[in-house]
Amino acid sequence: MTQKIRCAGFGGQGIVLMGKLLAQAGMMDDKHTTFFPQYGAAMRGGTANCSVIVSDDAIASPMVEEPDVVLVMNGPSLDRFEPTVQPGGWIFYNTSLIDREVERKDVNVFKVAANSIAEEVGNARTANMVMLGAFAKKLGTVNLETLLGSLDVQMHGKSGKIMDMNREAMKRGAALIK
């Protein structure tokens, strides 16, 4: 099993952290895993995205051009990445900031009101965690528990309150899946 994931959104939405957490969790689950950020000047203008691959086998290039899954946090990112998803792949998207529907018919769609849920948790900035939780629970690419654990590594040093909020948001995301 190899899953190629693209996370995308505004700068400031914690897109890179999403990717790192996924890769970290993949590693902790003893999978092969890579994380690859979009970097450099193309970052100006406020968009951010990154690639994560989680696989049972060694990974060739860590760059994901045609993802199996995209986790989309804002409108421009949906415009950009919707066409790239593999047929039969998944689009998770943030309905709090995106009011259009996915146009493609050959992909699976999962909607997450990430910002609204995050605000319920008490901090809109945890929308990324909501999205991650939903994704992990829905597709099982990484274990939800491991993902929660990966927070400790990647957000090491943050205050307990922030950690709790992030964990809570992730769980709320997961809870979307019954």
Binding site: F10, G46, N74, G75, P76, L97
Partner: protein, 67 residues
Amino acid sequence: MPKIEVDTERCKGCAYCIEACPQQILRLAEEFNSMGYHPVECFDPEKCTGCTFCAIVCPDLAIEVYK
């Protein structure tokens, strides 16, 4: 009557104009533009003097001023 026109698609919501406006009649809108920013809006157009301060500080050429 003097007025400003905000190109909401250019505006990145930096709020510089809000601070710069001597009339204090600008604020960020609730809604997002397509780039995900809250563009600025004038909530009390009557008071605008057309002083252009808001436009002068705008890094994104998002404001035109008429007089």
